[in-house]
Amino acid sequence: MDSTQLLKGVLDVAVLAVIEHEDGYGYDIVRRLRQAGIEDVGDASVYGTLRRLFSAGALTSYVVASGDGPHRKYYGINTEGKQMLATQRKSWVQFSSIMTRLLEPTKKTAHRGGTK
């Protein structure tokens, strides 16, 4: 399955997770996601997600001037964002364990086969 399709549904929570403990600017967040293993994430998707989370009130934003380069827009998580992250983390844990159970056919198939 194309992991980029899967990612679309969870990019919000992934972005919230990587800035939970440390604020970051756009490309820095892309880098953290890639380092975490989500290598196919598109930077345009991340910038769009950041904008949406910011509009939804989950993030704070501030500009940091750079001495010898362009300024950077930093994003940080706020209380609402933390609540959102907690909710989505819980949902993901439940959902992923369901999916894990669902997608572990070998034991069940063997068991079911054994009962017949």
């Binding site: 990019l11 600017y25 756009g26 490309y27 892309v30 598109g42 930077d43 345009a44 998707s45 991340v46 910038y47 769009g48 997600t49 904008r51 949406r52 910011f54 509009s55 500009v63 750079s66 010898d68 380069g69 362009p70 300024h71 950077r72 827009k73």
Partner: protein, 327 residues
């Protein structure tokens, strides 16, 4: 450090913004405020393998992730940004055109200066001097300041430092095209001015160095002084406000006229020596009788033309009429 020229990254970012042009300014700013910085970061990491892809796809991905509506389908509004974006995309599609595009980008500062000069030249041609300003370069410090000011504005506009409002950004493409069209016109004007200047210089150089009275460019070749009875006053001298003689064109200042001496009876050598001493420049000899060339001393001046006592300019030919000494 900010570069004088726009980088391909800036063009890509602008092209992405153009694709988002249907959104509000705040939305575009939120999405793309530090897009250049982000692209620079990617470029630094990926080096020569860096390929940002198509601005349209990039914008679409950004828009979808942000939960913003896709642009309205149907006929897309033709905006300056869209034209710019599509041009950039077209150039970037192929290596060859991309090289041309980068070369053009390098020449942008030259263009900013050139278009300012074109504006300056045509402004003076068209407005100040009714189509004939007779100038290729400023003629006064004020004009220099004016030209420099136009150039500064043009460069700052090119660098996106001044006049960054939407209005000017939209106006800049048609103005650039206009300036481009006017470049050949300016070259024509400049060429014409050059020809005129050369012609005037030649004309001035070819003017005779002789003093002389001119009115409205026409030489006054004779001056007559009449008394109250209308009679010609001979030998009258006309002076200007400085006491200097006013002379007709081609005439000689009376003070410089030489009086022809009486040379009658002098032999040829003596007569010529005398004339040279007095400053006569041109002497001709007219033999009235055949003279043996081995005996020049036998030749004596009978009379001069003009006759002795006449006043002539030093460059007027004085003829010595020579006879043989009577034995």
């Amino acid at each position: 450090m900010s570069s004088i020229t726009r980088s391909p990254n800036q063009d890509f970012a602008d092209a992405v913004r153009a694709e988002l042009a249907d959104l509000s300014r705040e939305e575009i700013a939120d999405l793309t405020d530090d897009l250049e910085a982000a692209i620079n970061d990617r470029l630094a990491e990926e080096g020569e393998h860096f390929n940002p892809g198509s601005p349209a796809e990039y914008a679409a991905e950004m828009r979808a992730a942000a939960g913003l509506p896709a642009p309205k389908t149907g006929r897309r509004r033709v905006t300056i940004e869209a034209i710019n974006a599509r041009s950039v995309t077209w150039f970037r599609k192929r290596q060859f055109t991309s090289v041309i595009f980068d070369f053009g980008l390098t020449l942008r500062p030259f263009w900013w200066v050139l278009r300012a000069y074109v504006a300056w030249l045509l402004f003076f041609e068209a407005i100040f001097f009714g189509g004939n300003s007779n100038r290729l370069l400023p003629k006064s410090s004020v004009e220099w300041l004016f030209l420099i000011a136009i150039m500064v504005v043009s460069v700052q506009l090119g660098r996106n430092r001044w006049f960054t409002s939407k209005f000017f950004q939209v106006a800049v493409l048609p103005l650039n095209i206009l300036a481009l069209v006017l470049v050949p016109v300016s070259i024509g004007v400049a060429d014409q001015r050059e020809t005129e200047i050369t012609y005037l210089e030649t004309y001035i150089n070819e003017l005779p160095a002789t003093d002389g009275l001119r009115i409205n460019g026409q030489a006054i070749t004779d001056l007559k002084v009449l008394d109250t009875n209308g009679q010609l006053v001979a030998d009258a001298i006309i002076q200007d406000q400085n006491g200097l003689p006013v002379i007709a064109y081609g005439k000689t200042d009376p003070a410089l006229l030489l009086e022809v001496p009486d040379l009658k009876g002098l032999n040829l050598n003596q007569a010529i020596a005398s004339l040279n001493r007095l400053g006569f420049g041109a002497v001709d000899i007219n033999y009235l009788v055949a003279i043996d060339s081995s005996n020049q001393n036998a030749a004596v001046v009978e009379y001069t033309t003009p006759l002795a006592g006449a006043k002539i300019a030093p460059d007027v030919v004085l003829t010595l009429n020579v006879g043989a000494i009577s034995r």
